[in-house]
Structures are given as C-alpha cells and as structure tokens.
Symmetry: D2
Subunit: 378 residues, 4 copies
C-alpha cells in the first residue's frame, strides 16, 4: 500500500506564486507529505515561513548544503525522496547536480538552467542518476492540453502545417517607462535572470506548449525582440518565426509589455483535417475547428476525453477546477473563526444560511403543491 | 504562533466530489491537518479509503458514535477541533446536534438538513453551543462573488429592483426517460433525498447566491415544477417567482433536465445605477453593466478589488485558480514515477523538455543578436 | 422575368429604428422598389423626409386615405403592390383592414394590433382577401434561428421538455425613477401603447421565438409583473411561467429595467437528445448541447446548414452580416465627398491607402524572397 | 436638396461576395442609385444578371470602353458620377486611369492594383483628376474600428509600443492538398492574382487595419511565407515582423490555410497607458485593457462613442447590424409569396403569429391581474 511520498522544498518562501503553487499541488492528490525545506537563504525568514505553514522546524535547514547532509544521515525509510527546486534560475544547475548524485528525485521549476551547455550537463548527470526528474511546465497539466496532445497523436488534425502560440503579459509595462523602476527589477537584470527576460520566462512556455501538444520538433527560429529603451538590455517582447521541417511553419509570440494582458497563453494548431484552439485563461474550453463541420467544444471530465485527460480531472464536468479554491476560501474563513481571529461577515455561510435554505426549499414545494400560489418565507 | 487545526471528516469516502473538494480545500491555505474520519458506514471501505489517502488508521473510526466517544477521551490539545459533515442530508441533523453538544466546530454540507423544523432545532442548539458553524455553499467562496457582495454593499448598483438567478444541470436527462433507471437513482427517492430533488440540491444554491450577493431577503415565492413522468415524485425542474419586498422582484430557475448543461449557475442583479452578471463556469469574469458607460470586466487579484475578494485570491491576475490542478497533475505523474507505477508519456515535462527550452531561448537570442537570421535548434 | 415589386410605406419617418430597418431590408435582395409613402401624419415632415431619402414627391401622400384612393386610381401595372405598415400599434387594425379590402399585400410591424379581438377580426379579413400578409418578427429572419427551427423539426433535439426564453432591455431604467420623466414616455401611456409595455413590446418577441423555433404551442401562462411605482400602470418587467402541454414547461422572462442590458433576446431549448442555445447579440453562433458529446457551434453559410437557413445567408462564412453596414459606411463617406459636404479623415480609405497596401505586399514578398531580410517601406 | 448619386458598377456580377456587398452598401443610406453597369465581360451574362437585379437594360454596356463612351455622351445631369470598380485586380489600373481622366469619382476594390509602380501611377493620375477616390478596405467601416482610431488619436492608449494583427482564413486548405484542385484556383495563379495570394488578398487588410487604427506608418518588414507544395508558387500563409520606428514593433499574421478559420481578422494594440482588442467576427465588442483597471467593453451606438463611430451606427445599442439581414430575409420571403413563387413555411411570420402574440399579451396581463393565476391560450 502506497504511503505518502516525503517531499522537500528548496526556495519558494514568502508569498511567491511558485511556492504556493507547488505546496498546494503536492497535496491535491494525497500523494506527498512536505517534511523538510530551505524556503529562504535567510535562516530567520526560512524558519518564520515554516512556522507560518505550521511545519515542525526539525527539518527546516539553514542552507542547501546542510539540507543534503542531514537528509543523507537519515535512514532511507525516513529520508526525503523528492526535492522541489524553486530557487532562482541560476541555482538550479548546482542543486540538481548534487541532488542527482545523492539519489533524490527532482521536480524543478523552468527554465531548467541558464544556458544550453549547463542544461546538457544536467541531462547527462540525470541519465547517470536514473532518478525521476520533472520540469514544471505547469500548463501541460491542464486536462484540455492533454486532450489536444492525445487527439493530435491519434490523427485528429491530420498532418500539421501551421502552429501559432502566444504568451502575452503586461506587467513590465508598469515599470519599464520609469528609468529608476526598470533598473531595480530583477527580471531585467541579466546577472540574475540570464540572457533573456521575455523568452526565458514565458516564451519558453509557449515553445514547450508547441512541442508538447504537436509532438513536432522546432527545427529553426528567426526572432526579433523589443527592448524599448537603450539602457535596458533584456528583451521585453519578441516574435519568433518557427520552422518545424520543410512543410510546417509557425510563430511564437511573447510579450511582457502587452498592456493589460494578464497571463495570455494560447495556442492554435492547424492540420489538414482540422485545427485546435485553446486559451489558458479559459482552460476548460478546447475548440476543434473544421472546414466543413460545426466547431466542437471539448470540456474536461467527459467520457469522450482521452485517458490522459481524464486522469487529470478530479471533478464532474462543469466545475471549473478553481472550485477547490472557492471551497478553500470557506475553510480559510472557518480557520480564522476557530482561532478566534477577526474575520468578515461573508467569509463562510452560517447556520442562518442553512435555515434560510430549508425555508426556501419548503416554500417552493408548498407553492407548487398548493397550485402555484405565493408562499411567504419567515 | 498558529498550529494547524485538527480536522475530522464524516462521510465523503470513495470518489465522491464532495469528499475530494473538502480534503483539498482544507489543505490549500495550510490551516488544517486531517487526523481522523469515518469516511464510510462500511468499516472495511472506510479503512481502505483512509489507506488510499495515506492516512494512519488509529483515528479511522467504525462509526460516528465511536468517533465522538474516542475523540472525547483525548486531551483537548490532541482532540479534533473541526468536523466536516459530508454524510447524506438526513444524517446532518443528528450528527450536528451531537457535535455541538460536545463542543466541536462544524463544517456542514448543504442543505443543512431535511426540514425547516429540524433546521431551527439545529439553529437553537448551535446558538447554545457557541462553536463555529459553516455551511458549504461553496460558490460564495469565489473571489468575484465576494467582490459582487462588497460592491453591492457599498452601493455600486444603487437600489436593486430585479434579480435573476439560474442553476441548470442536465444529468437527470440521462436517466429519467428510462423507467428502470429513474427508479434506482437515490436523488429521485424521497426517502433518501427529502422532499425535493432539484430545489433541494441546486435551487437552494441559487437562492443562497441571491441572498449572499444582494444582502436582500426573499419575502415570498411562487413556484412551478416539472416531474415529467407520473411515477416520478421528485421535482426535476422548477421556476420560482420571487418577491424581495414591495419594490424588487426576481426569478430563480433550476433544472436537472437542462440537457447538456453542466453546472450552469449564473446570476444577474439589476439596480438603479448599474448591474452585475456572473457565471460559475467562467468564475474569474465579473461584468458590471451600465446604461451609459462601457461594460466593465472585473477579474480576481487586482488591487481594485475589495479586501474580502483579495483575501480569497492566492495567485496573480490571469491565473485561473484551476492552475493548482494543472500543477497537481504534474505532481501526480511524478508520484507514479517515483513509486515505479506505470505512467504515460506526457504526464510531466522531462529533462529533455528542459534542454529543448534552453535551446529555444538561446536560439532566439542568437537570431535576434545576429540580425534576425535563422538559427537551427539541435 | 421578375421586376422589382412596388412598395409603399406607412409610418416609419424621421429617425425611427423601424423605418430604416424596413427600407434597408427591402433593398437588400433587389426585390423591392419604394415608390410611395405616408411617412408622417404631418404632411410637411412627410415630404421633407421623402426628400431626405431622395424620393420623388409624386406619390408622397397627405394621409392614409389619400394613399389608398390615389393608388387605386393607377392601373394595376403601376400600383403599389405591397404596403409596409409601420404606424403606432393602434393604427394597424384599421389600415390593414382597408388594405386587405383593396387587395394590397401587407407587411405589418408587431404587435399585430391592440387586442385579441381586433387581431381575430384582422385574421378573418385577411382570409377573405387572400393577399400576402407578413408580421415582422424580425428575429426569426436570422439564419441561425431558422437553422434551429429546421433541426428541431427534423428531430435533432428529440422530444422537448423545457424552454427558456429571455428578452432583457434596460432603457426604461433611465426614465422610470424620475416622476416627470416616466409620465412623459409614450410606451408607458396605456392610451398609446395598449395594455402592456414590457410584454406588448418585447415579451411578445420572446413568445414568438419560442413558438417559431420549437413548433410547439403555449397552452397556458402564469405571470408576475413589476411596475416599480404606484403611479405607473404599465408593466416594466415580467416573468411568465409557461405550459406547453402535459409534458413540457418553460419560462419567458422580459424586462425593460434590466439595467445595462441592450437587446438581450436569447433562447435555450432542452430536448431528450440535445439542446439549443442562441443569443441575438451574437446571432451567428448557434450552440448544440449534448449530455455526452462536445458542444457543437453552428455558424451561417456552411453547407451543413438547412436550406431555409442558407436561403437567408448572402455572404461566405465568417462575415458577420453587419459587414454590409461597414461597407455602407464607406459609401456614405464617399457620398459626402462627392456632394462636397464636410467629412472626416477616416471615413473612407483613400488612394494613399492603396499605395501603402501595394508597398506592403511587395515588401513582404521581397523580404521572403530575399531570405527573410528586412525591407523598408517607402 | 441632395438627390441620389448615380452609380455605375464594373464587375461584381454573378454571385460574387463583392458584388452584393457593394450593391447593398450603396443602398443602405439612401445616397446612391444604381443606373448602369458592366457586370460581366460576357455580354449575355451581363444582361441576364442586370435583369435578375430588376434593372433596365439601357445602360448595361457591352464592355468598359462602351461604358465610358456612352456615359460621356449623356449630359452631366444624367451621367454616372461614381463608378465602383470590382473587376479582377489586374484591370483596376487601366480602368481607374480612364475614369479619372473622364472625371468620374471612383470606388475601387482592394488591392489597388498589381504593383507598387502602377499604384503610384494611379496616385499621380488621381491627384491630377481631383475627383473622389475610395478604396474599399471595408473593415475600417465598422463603428468600433472607427472608435479605436478616434480614441487612439485622442491619446487613450498613450504611446504605442506594440501592434499585433492577424487575418486567418482556412479555405485554401480545402483545395491545396490535391494537385489538380490547387492548379485550377485562380487565386493561386500568379497570372491572375499577382505576386501574392495570402498577403495580396488578406495580409493587406491586416496591414491597412494597423495603419488605419494606430495612425502609425510601417517602416520596414521581414516576412516568412509558406507555400506547402513545390509546384505552388503563391504564398498561402505568412508571418511579417513589423517595425514602426525605433520604438514600436509589431507582427502581421495572415493565412489561408488556418484550417477551420472563417474570416479571423483581429487586432491588438498596446500602448503605455492602455490597450485595444477587437475581432471582426464579433465586431460590436471593443475591449479596452489596462494594467490597473477593469477591462472596458465598448459597444456601438452609445453616447460615449466618438462622432466618427456614431456616424456609422444606424441602430440603437444591442442590435447587431446584421439585423438588417434578418429583416431582409423576411422581405425576401414576402417577395416570393407576392410573386407566387414557392416558399417555405417559416420564411415570414404570418397573421396567425400576430393573433398568437395578442393572445399571449392578453393572457399574461390577465394572469398577473388575476393574482398570478394560470390563464389558457386559445
């Protein structure tokens, strides 16, 4: 019988998006147990964060070195088995190398590292280690993305001749036009973020989506970037012409200055028989276009979906998976109340809501039974 | 410093939607620790399910009676503090009464119980107990639902004169037209589901949404139901005329035979100054309509939202909260791999994806730097 | 070989929506020629309006009586054959009776007249006359509405058990809350508008849509209206419970105080096999829902559509029919220029746009041919 | 007082989209009167088509030469003033030159001609002639496109840094994969269609939309095309990198092999302060995006729109302009009936619909007045 897998997290402290995303995701299918971490390079912050997560401090380590040393002293039956590497990009390489060597499984945030050369070194080390490695191109986990992949694999589109992927965000627009602001953003500092801002952070997601869904490999690229200001050395926006072989072509568009765009990842894939269209901001709707038939809208959880897609759906059709969060918000309010903390009216439905509900149900039944008459609620 | 709150679950075993929803939600904000349960009235199934969740069996109890007795023997510092009641509707009443009496906090699935009379008895007992009680009208946890409530409270719509709420599902259509099938569905058996199927299960959500968002109270109702077949005694569909006082009127529509509808909960609220429109299947989009200005689209996570709404948002704007699930699917695939179980290609991005990504980033940079020339990927 | 049909118009002068709608519609398929009219009861306004339409004044008559008398003096080969009756509702009855008697074909705006009794008298007179009569429930002319009708007729939905139609507008909200304003609106004056404002003006469209698409007949209704203020005697909003026989039920919702709604006519039809959903504000998208298959989106102009639908489509798929208006706007700008009237830059594309376009085409070709190099435009 | 402007049409016979578009557009605002034409180079077809349009044959000319000669013989007060040139691209040049010389105003289909050189010759001739010339980039006539232009002009977006325009169609996919089919399509024959298929036909629309809305000029382009098959010499798909100066960049994407796409013209314009998004297939919705405020949805006909936009709107808000076509379909059905031609049930609403409508209105009023009781329809 499977026990929970012991998980360690490196990085992802504070209110980073990535941190909460990995912690929640690790819990959702009841597979992992978070037992140790180095959330921050600042030990005080590290411990404080662990406490905020209600974690015991025994396995909250001072740094990565100690993390590895101490865990290796534990018997294998207690040792962390999977490490999630959520640190800045430039640290991925050394950490993953060390973790491979010691036999840990690794879940690593993208991009893999800061250069192709280092990436290949990692690839080699991983091959030698033989442990599990996963790179969190999160968007490939959506049920309808998986459905695209499986249907393409089984020929639903025919031979593909064109792919168009876009990933537009607008957040850099809020800092780039002020010289002081833009010089203080770490993503725009090549020391910290590597050779690329826009391509490195989000263009690579679009690229991965393209190869993941189509099963095709990009053969060559031609790109044009925009930097807007001369004192800015990092790409903020770029269009990449794509060749997928002699036949198929495509385009990858990415931007961090697409004003007002939030997280606009979308893909269109055109084949001889049909086409797919999918948008990350409405992830439960997958469109199958055809020249001669009505467009079909695929949604998660239906039996018409592939096994891979269904394996990634936990709820009946029509429940946006964000419903977990709606429920979580109610639990959050209750936790405040239980702990005697201040909370707002409206954070969770109360006894009164329950009484009102029963009143409503009985009144509607009485109205219908009475011959469609008006019935007052109390 | 807050510790995790000890949680017990009653019901919700097997693959019930409600079970997974509560377990995941309880984990999302790092507030709860699931320590005990009676997942099923069948003890073997109960234990097997706990094991599937990787829970220790010590506090997996044979039945509700033993759950309460054994927990009460524990010192308060170890005892379960919050109980989630996910059992069939007719059991809510007795369980909640007992839990109130013993001082447990209670999170209870809707509807509260099976009659207004019992609901009031619960209300009384709860008042006496003074513990926390929450009814899981989950949809009120959505950030944009909370935003509606807060903006209405602060006068954004002016005086409200009309409310229109709908909750349409289609699933009963798949069983109702076959006499054998329909007689074997528990929701259509008044013994098990109470006096109402459609109103009791989903109409009550629509009603709650109406009162939650508007702050208004329904004064009287006039309803008409559809049963379709004479041997079916449970409402499958109903329209309810609503009076909210002398001025405002409304309508609640609910159906379980709205063929092809999935989970179509939606609300429109019309006031003298403006109106709101929101749909559960696209929960991140809230529309503010006006007679004289462009429609405004509110989305979660922006600073223009109310405190109550922002408190329920964990991610930057543009991330559908379902992204947790996308990430969870990747963790799920890794768990299979770590455990040596069979998994499909495509369940998580691999080292190769990381290498390809670096290759892409470097190639696009090289292309741009080279004067927009074609650069091959390896 | 068919000649154009001589058309006369009664009412519809000034900037009435109805007037322009009929005139344009009459021209679109090259079938009609507008030769005579009484646009207004004020003869000066009548003539001025005719001149504004560039019509000769010979057959612009002083009133309806003269219209009929003078036209009847003309030989049949010159006489108006079809009369469009666009006058206020209370005039429809007498005009149509007279026109039937004299052998004219009649196109009449809805509602037919001001009471069921008068409606039946008209029905009788029409039967006797044997001429063509059409009531302009315009929305039934949309290609996708026709497609619904035809597919339902051929069994695509199976037996229908539920229908939900809505027609929400918000314009009365802008006048109703001011006592002076509301007392001066003709639609809220029962003398002028008949017994009903909301049902009479738009509820009846929703009703017609229901019967047109489903082929079912409404058997009985139960309604509730809202008047908002005691000194207002006309319904502004209403919900109507519908029975379509022993089996199927439905609801018609209509409102003129649905703040911010523009022309929100929509219909959902649920049958045992499938369901339809259609919205007037996005008239080219027809959704076919199913419990077990992906939703299908039907659009105009495709060969998969019925003959009736295709007969109503003049353009290739993907051209919203509003494109006629886009082109008309360009022609309008040219007319201003030709007549030496003032017009704005941007009213029509100029020679310079043409030169730029050629420049663009040649430059893109040169860039590609040159091996994807940058090519400047002039 | 303005009279209708005499219009002549060259080309556009048969069932060409372009023909009907120009004829209808010319009628919509009551400005033009179609008096002469050469619809086809085949005189018999030409005359037959004119008859089908119910036009007298006196000014249906054998060819362009005769068209000009005969019209010039007429006194100016009868002569055609505006000529619409809808012939194949390669004929535009000679016709427009001749028409300019003789003093006609010209409305010409795009692209202007077949080479930049010829375009400039035309430009020169036009300047000399001093008549009105309009190129029908139809999409610039949409009210919301005009609204974009005016708001950008008045600074709503701030300085623009990125533009993304797309025009995707799929129709070539249905012919290109069959060697025989593709060799017989005139658009893929450089003799007939010029140097470019995809860019020449639709890319140029996207380009024009970019310059029209932004007021910016494209400085240089870098393009990559796809031809799919070696025996095909015409571009079917292309991506064009755009530079608009030192600061702003952009991309134009166009395709005729985007399987299942119908007429997918769309534009996004990103400025420092805000951004616009608009799609041709839903032309009444214009989105204004911002980093810090809710998205605003502009729609036609509201007073918040610019004068240029409002000048192009004929109907109240909420009426898709395609409603003209819905009404036109009803008039078409009536014409069939009047002429004694076969027509289908459902082509226009009948007397019975009118009687039913009155019955419905009276019944709903009676139900409400009777205290919300059921009232039967007859």
């Amino acid at each position: 019988m499977p026990k929970k897998i012991r998980l360690g997290i490196l990085g992802g402290g504070g209110d980073s998006l990535i941190g909460i995303l990995h912690r929640v995701a690790a819990q959702i299918n009841d597979n992992y147990e978070l037992v140790g971490a180095v959330f921050s390079s600042n030990f005080e912050k590290n411990k404080a964060f662990a406490q905020a997560l209600n974690m015991p401090l025994e396995r909250i380590y001072e740094d990565f070195k100690m993390f590895v040393e101490e865990e290796m002293k534990l018997p294998e039956s207690e040792r962390i088995r999977v490490c999630a590497v959520l640190t800045p990009n430039y640290l991925h390489h050394q950490m993953a190398l060390e973790l491979f060597e010691k036999g840990f499984h690794v879940i690593c945030e993208k991009p893999l590292t800061t250069s192709l050369e280092k990436a290949k070194a990692l690839q080699k080390a991983h091959k030698k280690a033989g442990t599990v490695f996963a790179l969190t191109h999160t968007y490939t986990g959506y049920p309808m993305v998986r459905q695209m992949r499986e249907m393409i694999k089984s020929g639903a589109l025919g031979k593909i001749h064109k792919v168009d992927v876009v990933y537009y965000q607008g957040w850099v627009n809020t800092v780039i036009h002020d010289e002081d602001k833009r010089s203080s953003v770490w993503r725009l500092d090549p020391e910290k973020a590597g050779i690329s801002s826009c391509m490195g952070d989000i263009g690579v997601h679009a690229f991965n989506m393209l190869e993941y869904t189509t099963g095709l490999k990009v053969k060559s690229v031609l790109s044009d970037f925009n930097f807007l200001y001369q004192d800015n050395t990092m790409d903020l926006d770029g269009t990449v012409l794509i060749r997928l072989g002699d036949y198929a072509k495509g385009v990858v568009r990415a931007s961090q200055i697409a004003t007002g765009e939030e997280n606009g990842l979308a893909i269109s894939i055109y084949g001889e028989k049909a086409a797919f269209r999918w948008e990350q901001e409405k992830p439960n709707f997958l469109y199958l276009l055809s020249d001669s038939l009505p467009t079909q809208v695929y949604k998660p959880g239906h039996t018409y979906n592939s096994e891979l897609s269904l394996d990634g759906t936990k709820l009946p059709a029509g429940h946006p998976e964000g419903i977990f969060d709606a429920m979580a918000n109610i639990y959050k309010g209750v936790a405040k109340a239980v702990r005697g903390q201040k909370y707002n009216d409206g954070e969770f439905p109360t006894m009164l809501d329950g009484v009102r509900g029963m009143n409503f149900i009985e009144a509607t039944v009485a109205s219908h039974r009475g011959g469609n008459v008006w019935v007052d609620l109390e």
